[in-house]
Symmetry: C2
Subunit: 158 residues, 2 copies
């Protein structure tokens, strides 16, 4: 992962985060907790999603789940091997387990989840290599931007 | 939970399990790992689902997720408070977290998951009471029937 912060790799990954944040802003604009996700394969975005839980009245409608749903349709396969996911906040256990079961290789997250019990569970899900290989999970890659977005959302709601 | 094994309560809960097993058999008949789920509110079944992951080519399409999706539509609410779910096998972490986030009160499972790492994660998800109250999770309630179904499925596939 040392290449992440240098050269072409960095520019490419920043671009994927930009698109994940654009998704998060779509959620923000419809009064949803602003979380976005994009799934990348071979350097191309194949699916994206933003949180629409309140609008859809459905706990399943998290950004990551919608992106996984779309990517599975695009690839016509539940195996999203050789795919990476970019998320604006660490996934919850539901999304983490879906990511793991879909065999997504790398999870790049902008900001860690401050809920410690949830993040311990999520780490265990990704580290578990009993059935599939462990998922690489790297967080806090765009802390300021992600924090600002979350803070302005919760300030607006007060 | 002491009343579970006696009288009217028992008959009612057996009936819900029968319907969960009927769902599991639908999965069996289309060559899916035979898992079924029903969601009950006020003594009535409001949603059901069976595993269609392979047919839909989508890891999200577990029995429990489809039942939660349907129940949310029926109640027009992501909060499935005062609902119970009956499953023919312990949920995976994805489904457990969805059940928890939907605030389903009680999880009744026919058979424990033999994958120890997964079941530790699932227990932690249900026990976590940081945001919502803990979910009651009772397993091994119909072991023989659930084992027979799973064994005949995996025997057929060999």
């Amino acid at each position: 992962m040392c290449t992440f912060y240098f050269g072409v790799e960095k520019i490419m990954k920043n671009e994927f985060f930009d698109l994940a944040f654009a998704e998060a802003e779509k959620a923000f604009n419809i009064n949803e907790v602003p979380i976005g996700a994009v799934i990348v394969k071979d350097g191309k975005i194949i699916a994206k999603g933003h949180n629409i839980k309140e609008n859809q009245r459905n706990v399943i409608c998290h950004a990551e789940m919608l992106a996984i749903n779309e990517a599975s349709k695009v690839l016509n396969n539940w195996r999203l091997s050789d795919c990476d996911i970019y998320v604006t906040l660490d996934p919850c256990p539901m999304c983490a387990s879906a990511i793991k079961q879909a065999r997504i290789k790398n999870v790049y997250s902008a900001l860690e989840n401050l809920d410690k019990s949830n993040s311990e569970i999520v780490n265990r899900i990704f580290e578990n290599s009993d059935i599939n290989s462990a998922t690489n999970f790297i967080t806090n890659l765009s802390v300021e931007k992600a924090k600002n977005l979350m803070q302005s959302f919760f300030k607006n709601r007060r």
